[in-house]
Amino acid sequence: MTLERNRDFGDYVPAPDDDLVICRCEEVTKGEIRQAVRDGMFNVHEVRRLLRCGMGLCQGRTCAKLVKAIIARELNLPAPSLLDATARAPMRPVEMKVFANEKGL
């Protein structure tokens, strides 16, 4: 979908819960996410690449929906219209030595 990205959000109005941690692994706050959207990060992919929310040990398994909802609210869009981050192996953290030890090929 074509998206014009030079959008005027007006002045940033701090919210009382801007300091709330949203991504528990990388300790990214709601305020940081809101600010990132205003800086032009218009989707889950860009916000996570900028802030690392969803890039920690759990890979966003906990916070993905929360992050999505905050981005959507800031953009004034329905949250389901945003796509999730891509799912990638490994589904659980796996040690290098285990990955290196392949069997059954």
């Binding site: 014009e4 990060m41 992919h45 890039m55 796509l83 990638r88 953290p93 040690e95 290098m96 392949e102």
Partner: protein
């Protein structure tokens, strides 16, 4: 909003956004079109983050050196975002005499180009990075190399360019370029929107090929799929960019703590161009490479793997310039898998090329002319 701009940039990767930034800084009106829904969704967000001069082709070396000297050190400050640039040096490791021979060749080539780079023995390498396997017998060492975070660098250029007024449109795939009276003057996107321009920069990775083909240009590129992995955070262990003579793997520990490693597994591309699937063997192969050189990392957990496409040029160096056949058009593509480290300087040069300025460095070696039949 007007559909006309002084410069139209096709591709919002690190290089496209760097060009947009340097143009917008000069108050030139810029529009950037991005095929993907996401900024920097191609190789710019998928590479290993090397900011490397060593091991470069002699043509690229001056660009890499210029970037390390003039652009990278202040980039975070200039763009207002920490891009995690770390000048920790580059260690390229060898385990056999044959390896050392390769490294010596690379070193001689770079030294000839004026780079501070030398061969070191195991002991010195171990002093630089205490985690090396005892099987390592020597290495090449370039103390001024380093790494940065490609995701942040790309988004920092985008963010800064956008703040300076560059217009960005994502989800806008260019179908074709159109010539008018011998000059390329507009681009038409898949939904039929026409974007007119004084000059266009095509900097769309492998996709540049089909866009350029619409005005008769042909860049000899191959798409290659690379796989990368990232680990859990770990306490800071080392700052160097790492590689091996045989290119078993390459990577570094990022400043936020996780290790990023890429590698090849010897399998030919199996995916359709554009898909970013992974093989079931890629991560395993890279891990074996890493553990062979850094056994201490074997307990480190991998949290994610991904892949990305490289626009590999027939002669493995980029194409940058204004082809004679297509006035109005600047090309920047075929960075062949080593574009990230030179992305700021490439953006700067493309901005200069597109506006008829004298370029900061000689770019004649990257000219499109080199593919023309010699008569």
């Amino acid at each position: 909003m007007s559909e006309t701009s002084d410069v139209l940039i096709i591709g919002a990767g690190a290089i496209g956004s760097a060009a947009a930034y340097y143009l917008a800084k000069r108050k030139i009106s810029v529009t950037v079109l991005e095929k993907s829904e996401y900024i920097g969704n191609g190789g710019s967000s998928r590479n290993g983050g090397g900011v490397r001069q060593s091991g470069r082709h002699s043509a690229e070396l001056p660009l890499a050196m210029y970037g390390v000297k003039n652009l990278w050190p202040n980039l975070s400050q200039e763009l207002g975002l920490e891009v995690e640039y770390c000048q920790g040096g580059n260690l390229r490791l060898g385990k056999t005499e044959a390896h050392l021979k390769i490294l010596q060749g690379l070193t001689a080539n770079c030294v000839a180009g004026g780079l501070d780079m030398r061969m070191i023995d195991y002991r010195e390498a171990k002093e630089i990075c205490p985690y090396l396997s005892e099987e390592v017998i020597g290495a090449s060492w370039c103390p001024t190399d380093g790494h940065a975070n490609p995701l942040l660098t790309t988004l920092a250029f985008y963010r800064a360019a956008r703040k300076l007024g560059a217009r960005y449109v994502s989800g806008a795939e260019v179908d074709k370029l159109v010539k008018n009276k011998g000059r390329v003057t507009k681009a038409i996107t898949a939904d039929g929107t026409e974007y007119e321009f004084g000059q266009a920069i095509v900097v769309a990775g492998y996709d540049s090929g089909k866009i350029l083909a619409t005005v008769g240009l042909e860049v000899p590129m191959m798409p290659l799929l690379m796989e990368i992995l990232v680990t859990e955070d770990a306490p800071r262990m080392f700052t160097q960019m790492l590689g091996t003579a045989m290119a078993d793997f390459y990577g570094h520990q990022s400043t936020h703590g996780s290790f990023v490693f890429g590698g090849t597994h010897g399998f030919e591309p199996y995916a359709e161009y554009g898909e970013t699937k992974l093989t079931s063997v890629g991560a395993s192969s890279t891990c074996r490479g890493i553990i062979g050189y850094f056994p201490v990392l074997s307990d480190l957990k991998i949290v994610r793997t991904w892949s990305g496409w490289i626009d590999d040029c027939a002669d493995h160096i980029p194409v940058m310039g204004n082809p004679k056949e297509t006035p109005g058009l600047t090309i920047g593509c075929a960075f062949s898998g080593h574009g990230f480290g030179i992305s700021p300087v490439a953006g700067l040069l493309l901005a200069q090329l597109a506006t008829g300025q004298e370029t900061a460095l000689d770019v004649s070696r990257f000219s499109y002319d080199r593919f023309r039949a010699k008569v």
